[in-house]
Symmetry: C2
Subunit: 558 residues, 2 copies
């Protein structure tokens, strides 16, 4: 039985910010110097994913210099740092092992995901170097990166057969609902089969349309979780992990000797943060992604259009929880079709969460457009044109507030709406970040209720939750005049979008044929709108954006 | 010496339109029945690229049925048709060889491009079946798909060694400036080395951000072009191609016997369409892409904002050449800062190309926004906010015209502007298709001059070409107040964007340091705008869009 003192550093680096990330990691070096090994997440030096920044040779050179700087700061504790390695021709998603001022080894990711949101085959070459073990604090460790841990025929089995007593995996694993459970089931099974512990270190924080949820953990050799870091928070866990002297294995990999067995002062027992309930983790995902998008963009304040409906109410609550209520301004822009109760509800929400608000009715501007149209063209603005016009006047105003005050605009559309195109381009979709674009309407209600139950007092007025949803762009408009009830629509959308079912298959699945025809057509025809929508965090297994790359010109009607 | 009667069918299929494409190909079957072989481009049955449509099992099944339909229509002439093959687990970018009602063989693409605009590793598995030759009309033919023809260690060398007397390559090769020359140099060299002829069949037509330029050709065994189809036009060439009986090669690949040597009636000599001048091919690329985006979307008419400046003038000319002048409406929306000469120039252009126009001044609407802002907020709209406001009012109006009349809006921004963010989101960038988004400003002038010289009379008034560029959003505004002259800016942008140079490298290259700092920062900071810009055709080696995937949150300042 050996003990290794292990630091799992679940950090939130910023993509491309080599200087800032060196500082972030550097600040932790002293604090972990009493450990044998400190592990940072995938591409921790550069931020992740880098996308086509990898194609810039100058950036790769700069990241290699930054790694040398960090290595020179390393002391008694071996550091595992993610970076982009290069042999002058190819670039690799890699980790470096740094100790006593030197880079003493590295590992290059072998299995590159090129599915869903990932383009790693585009950006990296797969590693193919012979495998090594690293003896750190007397323990033989095999290192892998993300996919390498769990893909069939990955390097783990070989490392274990070759004598590894501990597997350390660095990860950049983005969140979707239920992801932490998926990860733990997978990794626990690998640990049980391998009969050695596995340390899994993830990144945390938002990056464009992804949010990394942390939840780093250690599984022991029987497949039980012995340590877990919290989801969605930066955190460093230092603990002593017992490593079995395994039934004698013939060690056939070269072992790079990093640091000898050390006596550790005291005993640092690992602790286990709880796994969050699904709805709580979803809410935190939205909060984290929004906060990081705004702050990492260099902004501090946001505004949003507050209609008195459920979507904008939820986004206001998320924004306030992300950035502080003092940094959020709600803009109310009633039209002639806005109901009194909408304004009352909106004002109540503003009061509940303590954000600023501006009231800017659009009726007069709306009239001037219509009148000049009539005068110049002898024509009347009606129907959809008039509905879109109101929405776009609001878009213009929100952007004017943003320009004038250096705010970012948050948009408030949900996934059900984005799916069927129930939105106005350059109107309600105008803005920098679409907070709930990957949240179906039924989930929007769940989140609103959960947020109300969590706080000390009601946040989202119950009348907002209870009233029938309406865009209020014509008299007595209601969503259910154009769309099936969301309880019926959302499962259909999920099957079509996440499930990639065809029209015929959906009807076989039991959905009403006429509804399927209508909804599938709406989804297909709205691809052009989604292409111009702002980014927003992916929280399902298939978000719009880089996760679902459909042609705009596409006549397939299956 | 053998002769094969070969039909190269350079067609313009629509992505996802299985029924329409079956009809398109089916209509040609009778016409080529006197040939030995008719070759259609890559993925000719489904359209190309399919992107994530490939991930939908129901679509793959439907495309397999459609192939059977086409095969059943095949007669004496063997047909080579591109489709998505599947073994139930993996999907392959494939061709089928159909003859006498049957699918008698297939080939799966081995080398999948996953660079630039392509995501083929995401969507397909690489073919790895043993190679075959096909004996058609007495000639042993090796088939390959696109990349397979020219990547190092592709299958061509083996097919040639194994006895191929002719290589036939089906392609979906998109245009960029100078691409036809690049292709021919590459393929001629392969033919010369292999000492056998190569037939290269390309698609033609626009698909989202790509335009396929056709230019299909045949190179003889000495590396000389003997046949070329026109660029940018659908075309079928039928000709008799001489195939040398090669110095005895040991034929070690299985040969699938398709059709015997036939006597052909008459002699059909190949003809060679000219390669276009660079500026002409660029203009045709823009015309073709615009036409296909509009028509394949199911629209017929377009509108655009016509300012009196060079960009919108060029786009109006392209739109008119694409869709017919009767289907184009120019909307003139002068503000209080618009000059008289702008309106005069715009009217002259409208007259020159014979399109419709609408005059809709925005001063009054602009004033109402400003006045209500002042009244409600005790604040003045000024500076950038006011410039953007004018641009966004125009965006709202253009979209209202589009909504009211079922038109598509074309946007008019060029690549230099898109690069530095010299545009207003939801203002001048609002629309369905960005015709010249990948054309630098200096090229815009070249195109305008070329178009004037080509027609019978002046199209774009010379005063539009000669006046200094201005956005006219404040008094006496001129582009060169904010930006270096375009003759200096464009080469810098090209180095930074297409060349992936860093700031330090650009200064080394001789660009002024202060200018580099400013421009690089502008380009980086505008990524968020470009992400929400409409699609537009890629005509350079690196367009914005799927071709340049940079993170939005990106603090790299190299």
């Amino acid at each position: 039985m050996n003990t290794i003192r292990l630091a799992l550093a679940q950090i939130n680096p910023v993509v491309g910010d080599l200087e800032g990330n060196v500082e972030l990691i550097g600040d932790l070096i002293d604090k972990v110097d009493h450990c044998d090994l400190a592990v940072f997440g995938e591409m921790s030096l550069t931020g992740y994913p880098l996308e086509d920044l990898v194609l810039k040779p100058g950036f790769i050179a700069d990241n290699q210099s930054a790694l040398k700087t960090l290595a020179s700061m390393s002391g008694n504790c071996a550091l595992v740092i993610g970076f982009a390695d290069s042999d002058g021709i190819n670039v690799y998603n890699s980790i470096a092992i740094c100790h006593q001022g030197e880079i003493i080894g590295s590992y290059r990711k072998q299995n590159l995901p090129n599915v869903e949101v990932f383009d790693e085959v585009r950006n990296f070459s797969p590693g193919s170097d012979p495998l090594n073990l690293f003896s750190i604090g007397g323990t033989s460790i095999g290192f892998v990166i993300c996919e390498d841990l769990w893909v069939p025929n990955g390097p783990v089995e070989m490392l274990v057969e070759g004598g590894a007593q501990l597997i350390v995996a660095t990860n950049g694993s983005p969140f979707h609902q239920g992801k932490q459970q998926e990860r733990e089931i997978l990794v626990n099974e690998i640990a049980r089969k391998s009969e050695i512990p596995i340390a899994y270190v993830n990144l945390v924080g938002g990056q464009d349309e992804l949010v990394f949820d942390g939840g780093s953990f250690i599984t022991d050799s029987s497949g039980e979780i012995v340590l877990r870091l919290p989801s969605f928070y930066e955190s460093v866990a230092v603990s002593d992990i017992f490593v079995d002297q395994r039934k004698k294995v013939e060690n056939f990999f070269p072992v790079i000797d990093v640091s000898p067995n050390r006596d550790h002062e005291g005993e640092l027992k690992p602790s286990i943060a709880p796994v969050l309930e699904n709805i709580e983790e979803l809410y935190l995902a939205l909060v984290t992604a929004t906060r990081d998008y705004v702050l990492k963009s260099g902004f501090k304040n946001v505004c949003l259009g507050l209609s008195g409906g459920i979507d904008s109410a939820l986004v206001a609550a998320i924004a306030s929880d992300s950035l502080g209520s003092e940094n959020v301004t709600a803009v109310m822009m009633p039209s002639r079709y806005s109901s009194d109760h909408s304004l009352i509800d909106a004002e109540q929400l503003v009061e509940n969460i303590g954000i600023s608000s501006i009231n800017f009715p659009i009726s007069q501007i709306h009239s001037v457009f219509s009148e000049q149209w009539k005068r110049n063209l002898d024509d009347e603005i009606t129907g959809i044109t008039d509905e879109n016009l109101q929405s776009r006047i609001r878009g213009v105003l929100l952007m004017a507030f943003a320009n004038q005050h250096d705010w970012l605009v948050l948009t408030t559309g949900n996934k059900s709406e984005a799916a069927v195109g129930y939105s106005t381009l350059y109107g309600d979709t105008a803005g920098a970040y679409a907070v709930i674009k990957d949240v179906y309407k039924t989930k929007v209600y769940e989140l609103a209720r959960w947020r109300n139950e969590t706080g000390e007092s009601e946040v989202i007025p119950i009348s907002i939750i209870n009233k029938p949803p309406s865009a209020e762009l014509r008299p007595d408009q209601r969503d259910d005049q154009s769309l099936p009830p969301y309880e019926i629509l959302d499962p259909l959308l999920e099957s079509y979008i996440e499930g990639d079912r065809t029209r015929a298959e959906l009807i076989e699945d039991g959905f009403d044929a006429e509804m399927v025809d209508k909804i599938v057509q709406l989804v297909d025809r709205s691809e052009y709108k989604r292409r111009q929508n702002p980014p927003g965090v992916r929280v399902t297994q298939k978000g719009f954006g880089r996760d679902r790359r459909l042609p705009l010109i596409n006549r397939y009607r299956g």
